[in-house]
Symmetry: C2
Subunit: 200 residues, 2 copies
């Protein structure tokens, strides 16, 4: 199982955001949706062994599970529509239990701390950060949970939380890349790790 936790600092927490302005009025939800696509979609297929969690302004978390996801396409608008349905469902939720808003999509009124506590148990938490150890110098982690930020840096509080929760801090390269591209690179690293180059 590979999991990705993406922290959205300006992303909407209520369903009244504009689908026509994901990069502006919807707080860079475009980027978060591309992270969902990169985490879950293969060409003509789904990564059934992958999940992605969008932490929205440390208030609630929308999770997508590749094993059970239905009615999804990898375009930003479709995925933003699923986020909107999830935020709709969250308004009716009681307490902190996750609610399934559509097949494979759940929402919970949890911030980063509670989401990490839930998904990280007995798994390898990998903080993706430009100051981390280079990816090629690290062994492929078993059951990894990659934690990434959107267009904003992690806050001081988030960094403190990750210093405590992360097993590794890893850098993907010398150039700062978007979280969706980092997700694609991390998947590719794991897809090819352990493969004899002559064998694929």
């Amino acid at each position: 199982m590979r999991q990705f936790v993406v922290v959205g600092h300006e992303a909407p927490t209520t369903p009244d955001f504009p689908l026509d302005d994901l990069a502006g009025g919807a707080g860079r939800l475009d980027l978060l949706c591309r992270c969902v696509g990169a985490a879950l979609f293969l060409s003509h297929g789904i990564r059934e062994d992958a999940r992605v969690h969008l932490v929205l302004q440390d208030e609630c978390t929308v999770s997508f599970d590749g094993a059970t996801l239905r009615n999804a396409r990898p375009d930003e608008r479709t995925l933003a529509g699923l986020v909107r349905s999830a935020l709709d469902a969250a308004e009716d939720a009681v307490g902190h239990r996750p609610v399934e808003s559509s097949p494979g999509v759940t929402v919970a009124t949890r911030g980063l701390d509670a989401t990490l506590a839930d998904v990280a148990r007995r798994r390898t938490v990998v903080h993706l950060h430009e100051d981390g150890d280079p990816l090629p110098a690290t062994d492929p982690p078993a059951d990894p949970v990659f934690v990434l930020s959107d267009h904003r840096d992690f806050t001081a509080d988030e960094m403190a939380l990750l210093d405590d929760a992360a097993d590794r801090r890893v850098s993907l390269g010398p150039r700062p890349i978007h979280a969706d591209h980092a997700t694609a690179v991390a998947h590719n690293y794991l897809d090819t790790a352990g493969y004899d180059p002559d064998s694929y």
Copy 2:
């Protein structure tokens, strides 16, 4: 300079496509726009040494140049709007000369053959294909031109053309990934190639 040529088999060639249905009525222009984003955008920056060319139904080619691109954001809708403006400008174009529709965006009534002939001169043409040589087994190419397909396979004619034009056929891994994710992986391979893992 790194260049990417992405072949769109169902993408629009006229500007009357719906911005609200890029993955459906606009022939998977969502995927092509994500390829533009992956080719040109860094986190808070642009890859000024990169260009991407979208070949639309073998009729016309819309090119984006990282060095001169302005007014762009990496979301699908913004980039699709630039494609629409380019196709608008193409209707007024005379002959096969490229027309600049907005800063850094040009359109030419050229298919794959003519586009490759233009961009491939004295460069290394890399055909990204699942049956190619594994990426780690190849030396990083100088001045590469990566050629990718959208959600459809290359046609027999395109394969014949690439058999002739490509210097290498390279596979990025054992799992079939989308063209935008392949673009991100190819960039990362070149970003990290030659770097001492201790140095970034």
